[in-house]
Structure formats: structure tokens, C-alpha cells
Symmetry: C2
Subunit: 460 residues, 2 copies
């Protein structure tokens, strides 16, 4: 279904090619950073319906043109990225940040692959979700359409910019991007190339915009009437800040305080394997477990091998009093239950019942991912129905909570919100629907007077 | 499918019955109005997952018990309502408001009918929306579930309180209600009876709460972490105020600036009928048309009969310069294009093209309902695809934009927002989904290492 072929562009560094590129259009239309955020968002709102009316063919052509353009302009992209890296090295930014900032040929190939895959995907717009006859000749359809204007705020990775721009184009949304300051030069050239390639293929001018400063973000948060959805990606504090400082709807997650609950009927080997994988398979991610809850009737059986496995993986165990009576552990405080360590630390609490485990999760959890390990199906069903979480798992690692693993295709993000979209969000999270009513002159008066009646017959 | 039988409760005013009721539980558990809003919202958040785990049977029993209880306590309800009416008469509130405040036997029968219909409806919770095999024995389901905690702020009608409480119960959501001050006594008794009847049938204590003052609403708007969705119903200014003063997601609509565009190929009779019905069938509603846009090539043909029909219905016409060259009309200003009259006034503008009509609508409209009248299908399709509106109509009156007319069942409200739900919103708008993953001990490590691969096979 999807096009994975994207050959490495050998020879793209040749001098003559660079010369040709250096004259290309993006140099003649530099990004105008003197525009106010109000101007930018108003234009986006104006452009959004024009973009929404583009055909699936136009959008696919645009996505392929975007991929072509990035590959053609690889040398300038790498040069811009190098500027960012040199400046960041001077400013002595953290090594992991520096690593994420690096945009090289493999990363370029990765994102252009992604754009071509999106181009090959079926058009998600204009899908008829339901058809209902209201009366003879009066047909109501619910049709998928873009949300409108998406504001995306993300950290330093320049590849995220390309990915996000692609997702927004595929779903017909105008997008306003704000990347990290570290990646300023990379973001400028990438957004300009993507914008121009898109418009050259028929997308409306202004479908993509870039803003740059923290002050711009402040201004963006106030543009309630222009922006339909904000998607921030970054640290907990950052996402939390966005969520609490704008009246624009926000899709995303701040904390990821995930739990594994080992029920009294948890099989020992499975309990250890799932706990260990949930905690250690990747420490610094939102779907890693931070707290283990253990049924008191299973604690003496499960805790020693669990402690052994965690300790030998270098994980520090912080336990409640009952835990510490069974295995060596530092004392866990109230603060631990509410902590997202993102580190080789785990808190352990022994609970009296499944209900107490659920209550603990609903009190301290972040509604991200919570798992139960048990061989008792009734207990598993009750747990999944009762935990207020986006991803409720039975006998599986919390680390499976991920758009790619769910098979959703390109991931927009993970939402712990409770409206619109929840958990891993694919391109569907960038869509909404419109009601379309097709008649032949029907008016409401005779229905209100009772001389005509609705049939309300579902056609699909 | 639905139970419409709800016999009038003859004899309910008899002295002995009143005596029995006067001793019933709700007198022993008066509404505690000294509680802070924080206490109320924190309890709601705590209660929500317990309510979410209730079975469909329990909820249906609760809804029927609620209907029974209201009918049994009719005399006290009417007595409380009478207090509200007397106080409001003293305070000389507007007659239409007074009319909406009145809660009598027919209105009681209407709302208890509604509760019994909800009880008879299929349980919308726990519906499996999709099933996907991620790998052998690792099954991902998307299951419908309640949103959590709904804050409903509405005006004086006590029947709205019952309707909203019923919708929230059916969809498994904890609800915090704030009604109009005028209906204070009615709201108190209704909410207490509904709450107690619900809990007696198995809903968790605190599933419904009532707050009363404007200060309470202010406090409610700050309870981002406890409330998942706010649904305000009331005046434009009121809804706008809520939307712009909280970081909690809001579902609803402020303005309803709806348009009818008469294309060059509009049939004269149909153009007149649809325009007239859209404007005059009910003046004071959000889906009434406020502006007519007319293609310049059709203006000379359409305007005279249109003007005749509107004028003889008592509608004041305000026109652009070109309109006024063809028919007598007051001048329309920029302000008119942005006005929701909710009155016997219409603004008329002659446009050069369909594109200009769309641009006008996307500039001045409120994204509620916009119609085109034309016999040209291509024009109609382009119009519907290009207008940024929740309800895009072809050859039908804007007045059809309504949950009941759409056959959605009980209506939560109409949303002009672009996420979660759009246009008329039925009970589905109070729902979201949870991802449930069922495994038999799977961990992520082997998939990350490449030794295992996902199958991603859709089962339904």
C-alpha cells in the first residue's frame, strides 16, 4: 500500500547541482520574520478553507514535490543545520539535544520516505461517514474534513518539522510551526522549501507558516479565533504550561505516570517480564512504568524475583512500608506516587485489592497507560473498565502504547485529554467532519406544522 | 424502539400522597450549598470512573427511577417552581424568561418521557469500535467510554436540567450543573431528586452536583484538572465569555450568523421559499439566516420577488449598494455582515461569483449553517467543500440544522468548534474511547530488537 522506495540521492553534493540550487526560488522569497503573529494566524485562517477544498491528487502531488525539493536542496539544508550545530556547540547545549538537532542524509531520507508514504496513502478527506434520508429527496451526509488551522510547537528536532508539515498537508490543515531556537536555520530552510514545493503543486500560498520566538508563542496562545487546535510536544512543564495558558484546545500529554498492577493471580514469570520491560525497555519515554502496584496476597511470591530483576538491571526501588518488609528498598513517599521519573527508579506499593489499585491509579496516574497482570479475566475486565486511562492493558507491557505499534501510521502525538482523540493519535486526530444536506427545495415550515414527517432512514 | 408511554399521573396532588412525599429522603439530605466548588469538582472527578464502570442495566434502571421519582414528587416540584415564579415576578424579569421558567405537569411529563426514552435506548458505552491484531495473541480494541466530568451551564429552564442530567447519566458522565438563578428552588429539588433516585438504583453518590452562584461559575472555569468538558447554553455573550475565560475545552456555539447564497442558477421559486423559511420560520434561533448573498447575474430576476416576500412577512431588508439599486432597502454596513439579528431583519449583498460568496461567508460567518440554492451540482459541491461551516446545505433551508431534525436523538447542543464534535451534537458528543490491549505476556523488547514483527491485521 505504501511506497517505501526512496533511493539515496547519490551525487547531490556535486558543485554544479549546488550552483543550480543556490539560485532557486527560496532565496528570492526569504521568510519574512517581521510579520506579526496576528498577521500570520489571520492568513492561516483565511487559507484553511482553500486548502480544505484541494483535491487528494493535488495534496499527493504536493507531498511528493516536497520530498523531491528537500532531496534536491540537501546541501543547503545540511549547511543550515551545520550553522545551528556550531552555534549550539558554542552555547554548550546538552549532548542529547545536540544529537537530536543533527540533520544528516539518513534523517533526510527518513523524512522524505515519510512524505512519499503520506502521498501514497488514501486521501482521508471527503470520506462519507454516514448517510441518512431525512425525508424523500432530503439526504444528510457526514463527511470527513480538516480541522482548519493547527498550531504545532515542538522541540529541537528538524525532522519533526517535516513530519508535522506532511501530516498537516495530508489532512488538509493549514499549519503554524514553532520549532526550537537551536534549530532556527534548519527550520527556516525546511519550512521555506516545504511551503514553496507545496504551493508549486497547487496548495494555497501561506498553507504553512513558521514562527520563531518565545514571544511569538505567547502571542499564538491568544489567537483563539484563528487557531483550532494546538499540539505541543516537549517537556512536561512545557506542555503543562501551554495547556494552562490558552483557551485554544490542546492535544497532547504532559505527564506519563504509568502503572503496572500485579494482581493476586499474576503469573510470576509474566509479572517480572512485563514489569521489567515496562520500566527498562526505554527509560525516558512517556509510556514507561513509574509505579508497580502489587496485590498483598501475591507480594511475598512476586516481590523477591521482581526485586532481583529490577536491581540487576540497575533500577532503584522505592517501596511502601509493606514492600520494605519483604525486600530491601528506599522508602517511597507521597511524592513518589506522583512522580514521572523517566529514569532508572521505580516506586512499589502493596495494595489490599484490585479496587485499591484502581483508586491509586485514578488518584496519582496521568491517564496515559496502565496495565494489569493477571490470569483472571473478570479481574482484567473490571480493571480495564475502571481505570481512567487512555490505554488500559491486560498482560502486556505499557511500552506498546504507541501509534506505530498500534498500526495507526504516522503519529500526531499521544493525548491524555478526554475529548476529540485519546491515546496514540494518528492522522484521524487532525480531522473532523462537516454535515452536508442535499435537498430539492425543502423548507422547515411543513415539518414544524406537522403536515410533513421525517423518515430518518439510515442509508449507510 | 423507544418507549413513549408515560401516562399522566392523575391524582398526584392528593393530600395523603403529599404527606408521604414530604417525609421522603430528599428532605433528610438537603443540598449542601456551603461546599466549595473545588470540593464539588474533586468529588466529581473521583466519582467519574466509578460511574463509567456501571453497567448499562444499572444506568437504565437509574433513568427510570429518576422519571418515577420526579412524577412521585410532582407537588413539591411545582411548589418549588412556584416560589421561583413568584420571586421572579416580584423581580420583574422578562416575560419570555418567566415563560421558560414555568415547570408544570406537561413539562414534567415531557422530561420524564425523555428519561424513559433514554432508559430504553441501547447502551452506548463499551461499544467496540475497532479490533486489530498487533501480533498473534496481542489484540487491540478501541472501546467507547464516557468523557468523565461534564460541566453544564444553562439558563432558566428547569426542564433543561432534567434533560442534561439524563443525557449525562446515559453516557456515564459525572455532571456538574449550574442553572439560572431564577430557577434556584426548582433546580435544587430537581437535582436532589435526580441524584437520589440515581444513587438508589446504583449510580455512585455524587454523580450529579449542583452549583448555584456566579462566583461558583468563576471557580468552575478554573478547575481544568477536574472537568473534561464544559457545555454552556445561553446568550451569545455568555457563551463567548465562557469560551474565552477557561482553559477547559468548551462545546457549544456563540454566534449563529447563517447565510443563504442564491447562485446564478437558483430557481426563482425555490430561492424565495428557502430564503423566507431560513429567515422567518423561527426568528430567534441560531440556525435562522441573517444574510442573503445573491449572484449578480441572478439579482435582477430574484430580488424583486424576494423583496416582496420578505417585506410582506414584515422583514426589514438592509442591502448593499447594488441591492438598493434594484429594490428599496436600508443601507447595510460592515456591521450588518457581522450581526446575528435574531429578529425580523435581513442583510442582502450582491456578489460577483460563488467564490466571493464563499469568501464572504468564511469572513463574516460563524461556522454554523450556510446554504446554497442552485440547480448546478458542480457549483453546489464546490460551495459545500469550500465554506468553513458545520452544516453546508444545498437547496434546503438553514432551519434543518438541528439534532432532532437530523435524527440524532436527544441533543446535547450545537457546536461551532472544530474538534471533537461539530454541528448538532447527540449523545455521541459526550463520549470518547479507550484503547484496550489484551495480551498473554508480550513485551516490547523483541519487537524493538527486530526478532518479532507486528502483524497489524484488522479484525473488524
Amino acid at each position: 500500500m505504501q511506497n517505501h522506495q526512496c533511493p539515496r540521492t547519490a551525487g547531490i553534493y556535486s558543485g554544479s547541482l549546488f550552483f543550480r540550487i543556490a539560485k532557486s526560488s527560496w532565496f528570492r522569497y526569504p521568510v519574512d520574520m517581521s510579520e506579526t503573529v496576528q498577521t500570520v494566524t489571520e492568513r492561516s485562517r483565511h487559507v484553511a478553507p482553500v486548502l480544505a477544498a484541494c483535491s487528494g491528487e493535488t495534496i499527493s502531488t504536493a507531498l511528493n514535490a516536497m520530498a523531491d525539493s528537500l532531496q534536491q536542496h540537501a546541501p543547503e539544508i545540511f549547511a543550515a543545520n551545520n550553522e545551528d550545530i556550531l552555534r549550539s556547540q558554542e552555547e554548550q547545549i546538552d549532548l542529547p539535544l545536540l544529537k537530536r538537532l543533527k540533520f544528516d542524509q539518513p534523517k533526510l531520507d527518513g523524512v522524505t520516505d515519510g512524505l512519499r508514504q503520506l502521498a501514497a496513502m488514501e486521501n482521508p478527506l471527503g470520506k462519507i461517514q454516514s448517510v441518512r434520508e431525512l425525508d424523500a429527496g432530503l439526504i444528510l451526509e457526514r463527511v470527513s474534513c480538516p480541522i482548519g488551522v493547527i498550531g504545532m510547537i515542538f522541540e529541537s528536532r528538524p525532522d519533526a518539522l517535516v513530519q508535522i508539515a506532511g501530516l498537516c498537508a495530508k489532512s488538509g490543515n493549514a499549519v503554524i510551526l514553532k520549532g526550537g531556537r537551536e534549530a532556527m536555520e534548519s527550520n527556516r530552510i525546511l519550512s521555506r522549501l516545504l511551503h514553496d514545493a507545496g504551493t508549486s503543486a497547487g496548495l494555497p500560498d501561506g498553507w504553512l507558516a513558521l514562527i520563531e520566538t518565545r514571544e511569538d508563542v505567547q502571542a499564538l496562545l491568544t489567537r483563539h479565533d484563528d487557531i483550532d487546535l494546538l499540539i505541543p510536544r516537549g517537556s512536561n512543564e512545557f506542555v503543562q504550561y501551554i495547556m494552562h495558558n490558552t483557551t485554544i484546545p490542546v492535544l497532547g500529554h504532559a505527564d506519563g505516570i504509568c502503572h503496572v498492577y500485579l494482581d493476586k493471580d499474576a503469573e510470576t514469570g509474566m509479572a517480572v517480564d512485563i514489569s521489567l520491560d515496562s520500566k527498562t525497555q526505554y527509560l525516558a519515554v512517556c509510556n514507561a512504568a513509574e509505579t508497580l502496584l502489587i496485590h498483598r496476597e501475591a507480594a511475598a511470591r512476586l516481590l523477591p524475583p521482581l526485586h532481583e530483576a529490577l536491581s540487576s538491571s540497575g533500577v532503584e526501588v522505592r517501596g511502601c512500608e509493606k514492600t520494605r518488609a519483604l525486600v530491601p528498598a528506599l522508602p517511597a513517599t507521597e511524592e513518589d506516587w506522583a512522580s514521572e521519573y523517566l529514569d532508572a527508579i521505580i516506586s512499589v506499593r502493596i495494595v489490599d485489592s484490585l479496587e485499591q489499585a484502581v483508586e491509586h491509579i485514578n488518584t496519582y496516574g496521568s491517564g496515559h497507560t496502565d496495565a494489569i497482570v493477571t490470569s483472571n479475566q473478570a479481574a482484567a475486565e473490571l480493571f480495564m473498565r475502571s481505570v481512567d486511562t487512555a490505554n488500559a492493558f491486560w498482560n502486556a507491557s505499557t511500552r506498546f502504547a504507541d501509534g506505530y505499534r498500534y498500526g495507526l501510521g504516522a503519529e500526531v502525538g499521544i493525548s491524555t485529554g478526554k475529548i476529540h482523540a485519546r491515546g496514540p493519535v494518528g492522522i484521524e486526530g487532525l480531522m473532523i467532519y462537516q454535515w452536508r444536506l442535499r435537498g430539492n427545495g425543502q423548507i422547515v415550515a411543513p415539518y414544524a406544522a406537522g403536515s410533513k414527517r421525517f423518515t430518518h432512514r439510515d442509508i449507510t
